[in-house]
């Protein structure tokens, strides 16, 4: 039972990680919490449903379509909800938060209209494959999810620290005006970042679909809020923090159910945020305190 629950926790945690990485990336560059990320993630999951279930196409097409559609949504989000606010006089720092809340509400209810309120099945032959070791059954999906989460984390770290685009991105994160003076096309960097973050949301969406066979319009909110909690836990804008935070949350939720009271499962994330914010606002792995004055 312990091993099974450990696997459950790691699967859930890995999905949280992929969701949280999207938040972290946007926050790292723009200092903005993108409240619309959860709903973009949900759209990614629905794309998977449409491609695999309704059109009967293979899984990799689902990944492609989800990445493209969520990328486009990300572009629109940046274009309409973030860009108009940038560099405008007298716009409070809360404005992007509010306008992305707007995006999230809009997308959630749009999904209600397009896809219906209920759960959609996500059937692929891949999600049936499994190996049994002793009494424990492990599905390939679970391994895949874990691997993707790790790959994304290392890929992102590598991209940020070694590539030119990544360096431009970090320069913009440090100081937009100076980066712009140094010849970085900050507008492009920002758009790029939001698109990449959204596409990662799309990937996470498909992963949830195959892992849990459950896709519905409300999942954006519940996973989105968890993702939010994770980046606070791990430290805003911190890639490794998001990784650790996601796994911690996934495991602790699973073990609370396994050995405690499942009724409080949803509260863990939020109690953790409140405690962390009060005790250690920079997050478990954050270092700078100056940034906490968002």
């Amino acid at each position: 039972m312990l091993i099974e629950q450990l696997i459950n926790g790691l699967t859930l945690g890995s999905i949280y990680v992929v969701v949280a990485l999207g938040y972290t990336l946007v926050f790292g560059v723009l200092n903005i919490v993108n409240m619309g990320h959860g709903e973009i993630f949900m759209f990614g999951a629905f794309m998977g449903v449409i491609v695999t279930n309704s059109l009967g196409l293979p899984l990799y097409v689902a990944f492609l379509v989800a990445i493209i559609v969520t990328g486009i949504l990300g572009y629109f989000l940046e274009r309409f909800a973030l860009r108009p606010l940038r560099g405008k006089e007298g716009v409070s720092h809360l404005a992007p938060l509010i306008s992305t809340i707007g995006v999230s509400i809009f997308l959630e209810n749009a999904a209600h209209h397009f896809f219906g309120a209920g759960n959609q099945p996500f059937r692929t032959s891949f999600s049936e494959l499994n190996i049994t070791i002793g009494s424990t059954t492990v599905y390939y999906v679970q391994i895949l999810i874990f691997v993707i989460a790790i790959l994304l984390m290392f890929g992102l770290t590598f991209w940020l620290s070694k590539t030119k685009a990544g360096k431009a991105l970090r320069a913009s994160a440090e100081n937009l005006a100076v980066a712009s003076l140094l010849g970085v096309n900050t507008k492009r960097v920002i758009t790029q970042t939001v698109i990449i973050a959204s596409a990662m949301g799309g990937i996470a969406g498909i992963l949830v679909g195959i892992a849990f066979n459950s896709v519905n319009p409300q999942m954006g909110l519940s996973f989105g809020l968890k993702g939010l909690a994770i980046i606070i836990l791990g430290g805003l804008g911190n890639v490794r923090g998001a990784m650790a935070g996601g796994l911690i949350l996934g495991l602790s939720e699973t073990f609370l159910v396994a050995y405690g009271n499942s009724g409080y499962r949803d509260a863990i994330a939020f109690i953790a945020i409140i405690v962390i914010l009060i005790v250690r606002p920079q997050g478990l792995f954050g270092t700078s305190t100056s940034k906490s004055k968002g």
Binding site: A117, F212, S222, F223, V257, A258
Partner: protein
Amino acid sequence: MNKRIKLLFSVLMVFSLVVLTACGNNTKDAGDKEIGADGAVKAKIGVISYLTGPGAGYGEAITNGLKLANKELKEAGEVDLELKIEDSAGKQEEALSAAQKLMNSDNVDAIIGPTLSTEMFVVGPEAELNGVPIMGTSNTAEGVPQLGEYVFRNSIPETLAIPASVQKAIEKYDVKKVAILYGNDDVFTKAGYDVMKKVAEDLNLEVVTTETFQLGQSDYKAQLTKIKNLNPDLILASALYNEGAVILDQARKMGLDVPFVGGNGFNSPEVIKIAGEASNGLIVATPWFAHKDDEKVKSFVKNYKEAYGVEPDQFAAQAYDGLYLMAEAVKNAGVADRDEIRDALAAIKDFKGVLGTMSFDEDGDIVMEPTVLIIEGNEYIVFE
């Protein structure tokens, strides 16, 4: 800058003016509640239904059922009912506003609805105060008919449905240990759980564990792994079909193959659509079974399919019978009078509808025998 504001403001003003006139047009028409020339008793029936929002599917089925029944009633010619349909969007405040509108602006003689028990808890006392008979066709929570003298329902409560299905399951399988799984943040599933707990106690079943989940959750593996390791003979799951179907799917995937007993909310063809093979072994008690060998049922299913293209679910069937019960009361009362209709409703005994034979008890609650079903070979069949 100032000009722009002025413009904005004037646009707004015009807009609100339009709205005000729109509301002005809403004149009330004092209905002529006389007996028509052809001898049919005329009455106005208000309907409060969940037509927009996440639960709009329920409201749609309900209004479809009502409209079909009304069409048939009109053709039969004994009563002439006019339906006034209002949307509640599943919210208490809006259900209350809709009820106020129906009772006071439209002067309806009786109300059918609202869809959710939570809405009924708010609307019921108000209808009682106004002396308007109100009948829920989909409220299953405990305490609904007890809201007042004028409050009725024709949907079977969980207190009737769950014991019937658990009893049957125990007879069939050798059940000693059960696990309970329920949604703790929803009125419906929580109420179902309370009944399950009591039934398990009454039948001396050992409850190995009680687990909860929340609406819209995706991952049930932690709870199911725990349940699996405790080896129950039967799982009592109080879930709505949306979550329930996913639970079944995840349970079967991890090799948890014992039968499930669900509440009324778990009973939907959608379960099979979402969970496929995994749905086999789900036992539910239902007031409505579309494949019953009964003339009334067959013709209802046929007509409904012709009109709306889908098979009627229990919400449509309950609404359909609901209006027939109301029509019976109007007919027996002979006049469109709120008090007379209430008394006639309370007096209904052994009325035959598509659900079965119905009567009301002294609270105004339905009395009838539910049918216990099981999913086998990807379809619902009668469980014996």
